[in-house]
């Protein structure tokens, strides 16, 4: 029941906001998002006391087709729900001193998106997952279309069609699996059983079909070309949701819907995806090095990080999966942080072209300091959350594929190159006529950044509570595979 509430609260919040008008929309939105976060923490508490049945909810939906409205939560879902419910208030708060026209509609759409994302993280029915997966696309489509920057029509169209194209393969795979279930059901366990009974080739194909959908959404090379332009066109809250939370739907999907469904296929063909992921890491890191615009740099850096997560998932061992879970959370937080930094700079300087900036550290050192911590987390320095994930990922991938892990490790060098280069260009050196008038940070901006920085350091120094959330679920999952 609680799980259902977690989906309903944002949905209702969305509808409330549609009617409030834009005057106090942001405050109302913040309160509503905090309520949702509170419920998520409550769910976490229940999960810890291992009364997981109460987090499960199931009613028949389309019985003739074996579709039920089945929700449930284990540690893996929990962490993802935490990610989306934690980031939502942060994203809303970060938008506080920016005036969006009809902001209540913006927030409403964001809540509807959150509802769909929480749905996809908790759906235990293949059809239901698919519905949530597709529904989540609609609000972000409108968010970018209505509040986006230059070229938004063209970009959103490409984004929408591209992801829809990928989803189609997932739908086909789901139907194929459905036809192979003994009871004709979309229930997750039935689908698992059906998937595992398939031949190796079939499993490989199913894996490929799912992967296509998820690889586009993450995105990784070579399915990423919609992403940089979409990130650039999207308004900041939209791109935070897109890069921070929505991309994790894909990696979550791999863990929930691919690994246990076609374990033999993963065993046999997983190395192909690991290789592709590693190529993606290096490819995106290299391109990030020469980016001139900070927002593009964040976009490519994101592709590199998602590649590592994807490689870790297909390495399918305890370290790599735990690493991918932590990294999903960290990447979500850090991405929101980086986009917020971008927003702070762009709002003041009206440009995010790095060569036009410089010397900001001398003008606003607190901002520079906090930005630098986010940078450090992105280059995976120990005692930041970025390190925990990347270390476990590399350690885990190494046990499955030494060569791939060693190449993936190059990202710690390349990451340092592009991140420090960017930081230096924007923050260090002498000020110029533009940056010498860099206005001080406002209180709300300082608070938002502080929260992000604290999360980065606390998670980096003491990651155990986070690791504990998913530990047993990952163990169960791995047991099911072997």
């Amino acid at each position: 029941m609680l799980t259902l509430l977690l989906i309903l609260i944002p949905l209702i919040s969305g509808f409330i906001l549609l009617f409030t008008g834009s005057k106090n929309a942001r405050q109302i939105a913040l309160v509503l998002s905090l309520i949702e976060f509170g419920f998520a923490l409550f769910a976490l508490n229940i999960l810890k006391s291992s009364a997981t049945e109460s987090l499960s909810y199931s009613i028949p939906w389309i019985p003739s087709m074996g579709i039920s409205f089945h929700l449930g939560m284990d540690g893996i879902s929990m962490l993802m729900v935490l990610l989306s419910t934690l980031l939502m208030p942060l994203i809303i708060y970060s938008s506080f001193n920016k005036r969006y026209s009809n902001s209540h509609n913006l927030y409403a759409l964001m809540f509807i998106m959150q509802s769909a994302m929480v749905g996809s993280f908790t759906a235990m029915d293949g059809f239901l997952f698919y519905i949530f997966w597709e529904v989540s696309l609609i609000p972000i489509f409108f968010i970018i279309l209505m509040w986006g920057g230059e070229n938004r029509q063209k970009t959103t169209f490409k984004f929408f069609i591209y992801t829809l194209f990928g989803s189609l393969f997932m739908l086909l795979a789901l139907i194929y699996l459905y036809l192979h279930t003994s009871t004709h059901s979309f229930d997750i366990q039935a689908l698992y059983a059906a998937g595992r009974s398939l031949s190796l080739t079939e499993q490989g194909l199913i894996m490929g079909a799912f992967f296509l959908a998820f690889a586009i959404k993450m995105p990784i090379f070579p399915f990423h070309t919609w992403q940089p332009s979409t990130y650039v066109a999207a308004p900041t809250p939209g791109v935070m949701l897109l890069g921070g939370v929505m991309s994790k739907m894909a990696t979550y999907g791999l863990i929930r819907w691919v690994l246990p469904m076609v374990p033999d296929g993963v065993q046999e063909y997983g190395y192909l995806i690991i290789s592709l992921s590693v190529v993606s890491i290096i490819y995106a890191s290299c391109i990030a090095i020469i980016q001139k615009d900070f927002k593009y740099l964040i976009a490519y850096a994101s592709i590199a990080h998602m590649g590592l997560i994807s490689a870790g998932i297909f390495a399918a061992n305890m370290q790599s999966l735990q690493g991918s879970m932590v990294e999903m959370l960290s990447h979500g937080i850090n991405t929101v942080g980086l986009f917020f930094v971008y927003d702070i700079i762009y709002k003041r300087m009206h440009t995010s072209e790095m060569s036009k900036l410089g010397g900001i550290r001398g003008v606003e050192s607190r901002f520079a300091f906090m930005f630098f911590i986010i940078v450090l987390s992105n280059v995976a320095l120990p005692f930041t959350n970025g390190f925990i994930g990347e270390f476990l990922l590399i350690l885990g991938v190494f046990q499955t594929n030494m060569l791939a892990a060693s190449f993936a490790g190059l990202s710690i060098i390349l990451g340092a190159v592009y991140m420090l280069r960017a930081y230096q260009k924007m923050m260090l050196g002498e000020t110029n006529s533009l940056t010498s008038h860099f206005p001080k940070l406002e209180k709300q901006e300082l608070i938002t950044l502080s929260i992000i920085v604290i999360l980065i350091v606390v998670m980096g120094v003491y990651p155990k509570p986070i690791l504990d959330i998913t530990e047993s679920s990952i163990q169960t999952l791995l047991k099911g595979i072997q």
Partner: protein
């Protein structure tokens, strides 16, 4: 006891936190006091620990908290105190405190003084974590942490992009080494299932395991790659000379006394593994001696006071690796300790000189500072004598131990080591004479401004000078010690961790080597005196420099230019190619192509939909006809 261990890194961390959080609310002297106090308390604490380890060998393991646990991987944040870490603790906090004290005077006019002390404290914290760690992962925290602090402090004056470039270079080059470290950790966990020293280095564990020598060699090789980065060895050494862009106390603390010796600590800590892999050991020797030679040769021709010292550090670190490579771990650690004293002394001395010269670093513009800076002069002389290896100063004992171990291992190695020592004596005295003797060659303005540094800067110099004189006596070699009834305390203290040296050469030969080395060094010093004092010669200016070996060496063999051509530029080109040659035209081109294809298909099929009823009727009839034909 356990609480005491936990407190060691906690003190500087607290100082860091206070200064970082209070920032402008603290006055500069307050910040300085807090910073110095943090390190001083840590030093006292370390001394207590050191003392307790002195009485008997009893390693103490302290678990602070669980850090990363995933399945069978378990790395807690825990500390290990044994003789090896206690010695490093003493050096880090002791020399660290003196350098903090020196910085109070050196940085007092700098706007960023609070920031400076905050970073310095944070550095001490990470350095302590590095040597205290009880598993590889905790060492890695310190390892990366000191790299980060080094980055912040090299680029301390961030308005000048030259400093920022140097900082970035240091970080990235270190990261290349760190990847080696990371892969080594993966290999160790993969093969042994643990990263804890207590498991890995428990007696017989490695030898009994079924892991092949090839794998072990790969592990030690990867570890050594990490050490190459941090301890500035060929090919990853070029960042260290550039790192001199940071304030001079930073060069003394991080880039001479402590951080750069982390690589030596790491090899010493994992000595059991290294001893099992002779191939890696050979590589360590080769890299070490090559770096020692290269650093010394470049040092001969440098004119920047800090650059000379930087290349000297590179060279001395190379000698330490030679010691490690021949299995003389104690000798290497001994040299780390004595080197920390005299190199910190020399760097701080150069800081005092630069301070007096209003920022001038070129020794061609100095000279005759002897009278104006008497304390700096005297302490600098002691440092120079110590690094040259004149008995009975500290440098003599540690360098002698390395050379005799090298001799026992391989005569050519000894000869090369001797050559390094001779060049060291030469370039150091060249530096010394050009700076302090002769007549002043700077501007009148500079001459007018010349002054000895205040007491809080000269006091650290004096203390370090005393250490540079006497520290050697803790490691008196057996041949000398036997007659005088002095025991080699250093060796017996470390023996439980590092073992004692296996190679012994005959006493008569050892005496002879000692005599020969010392005589040659004295000769070199006299030659330097002849050149730079009697003949008063001064290195020519950059413009006059003739082509040839001298110019090539002065330009550091163009290694930076080479790296730039072979690594940096191609990486940029590759990146550009990937974006403009692959991403846009091919990957996205395909996507756009599919889009276009759909559109054109649509425009063809659209033509069928004419809206003409008659046309539809005809198509309808034909279609039915076709179906009939098909089914009959």
């Amino acid at each position: 006891m356990e609480q005491l261990v936990k407190l060691i890194p906690l003190f500087p961390l607290i100082s860091f936190a206070i200064i970082a959080l209070m920032n402008r609310r603290l006055s500069k002297p307050q910040a300085a006091i807090i910073a110095c106090l943090g390190v001083l308390l840590s030093f006292i604490d370390s001394a207590v620990i050191f003392q307790s380890q002195l009485q008997s060998f009893h390693p103490v393991e302290v678990k602070v908290f669980d850090w990363i646990i995933a399945g069978n991987f378990n790395a807690s944040f825990s500390f290990l105190v044994d003789p090896l870490s206690s010695i490093f603790l003493m050096v880090i906090t002791g020399v660290g405190f003196l350098i903090h004290l020196f910085s109070v005077g050196y940085m007092k006019d700098d706007d960023g003084m609070r920031r400076f002390f905050a970073y310095l404290n944070l550095f001490i914290f990470f350095m302590l974590v590095l040597v205290l760690g009880n598993n590889f992962l905790v060492m890695f925290i310190g390892w990366e942490g000191v790299g980060f602090c080094s980055f912040m402090l090299i680029g301390f004056w961030y308005k000048d992009n030259k400093n920022n470039d140097a900082a970035k270079k240091a970080f990235v080059m270190n990261r290349i080494g760190d990847l080696g470290f990371l892969i080594a950790m993966c290999l160790i966990f993969f093969n042994f299932g643990s990263l804890n020293y207590s498991t890995l280095f428990s007696p017989g564990f490695l030898a009994d395991s079924s892991v092949s020598t090839e794998t072990l060699t790969l592990i030690t090789f990867c570890l050594f790659v990490g050490a190459m980065g941090k301890s500035a060895q060929i090919p990853l050494y070029t960042w260290l000379p550039d790192a001199m862009a940071g304030p001079t106390p930073v060069s003394a603390l991080i880039h001479a006394a402590t951080m750069v010796t982390a690589g030596i600590y790491m090899v010493a800590r994992t000595n059991i593994m290294f001893s099992l892999t002779p191939d890696t050991m050979t590589l360590v020797v080769i890299i070490g001696i090559a770096t020692a030679l290269l650093g010394a040769v470049i040092g001969l021709f440098q004119n920047d006071i800090k650059k000379v010292l930087a290349y000297s550090t590179v060279s001395q670190l190379g000698l330490m690796f030679v010691a490690l490579g021949v299995g003389a771990y104690t000798a290497a650690v001994f040299h780390v300790v004595t080197h920390a004293f005299f190199k910190a002394l020399l760097f701080l001395g150069s800081g005092s000189v630069i301070h007096a010269m209003s920022g001038e670093q070129d020794i061609r513009h100095m000279g005759g500072l002897k009278k104006k800076l008497p304390i700096t002069y005297l302490t600098f002389l002691i440092g120079t004598l110590a690094i040259s290896g004149i008995p009975p100063l500290a440098g003599f004992f540690s360098k002698d131990q390395i050379l005799s171990e090298a001799f026992a291992h391989n005569k050519i190695l000894f000869a090369l080591g001797l050559l390094v020592s001779l060049m060291t004596a030469f370039y150091m005295f060249r530096l010394f004479f050009l700076t302090f003797h002769g007549s002043f060659r700077g501007t009148q303005d500079q001459e007018h401004h010349l002054h000895e540094s205040p007491l809080n800067m000269t006091l650290p110099l004096i203390v370090l000078a005393i250490c540079a004189v006497f520290a050697g006596f803790v490691g008196v070699p057996h041949v000398i010690g036997e007659g005088l009834g002095i025991h080699n305390l250093f060796e017996s203290y470390l023996a439980p961790v590092l073992g004692s040296s296996s190679s012994h050469i005959e006493a008569s030969i050892e005496w002879m080597l000692m005599g020969l080395t010392t005589a040659l060094i004295v000769a070199v010093i006299l030659y330097a005196r002849h050149l730079f004092v009697s003949k008063n010669s001064v290195p020519e200016s950059d413009l006059q420099m003739q082509a040839g070996f001298k110019k090539i060496a002065y330009n550091k063999f163009f290694v930076d230019e080479f790296y730039n051509k072979v690594f940096t530029q191609p990486l940029d080109k590759l990146s550009l190619f990937l974006e403009k040659g692959v991403d846009v035209p091919l990957v996205d081109g395909l996507v756009r192509g599919i889009g276009k294809l759909t559109q054109s298909l649509a425009s063809i099929t659209r033509k069928i939909q004419t809206g003409n009823t008659g046309y539809y009727a005809i198509v309808f009839v034909f279609a039915i006809l076709l179906l009939f034909i098909f089914f009959i």
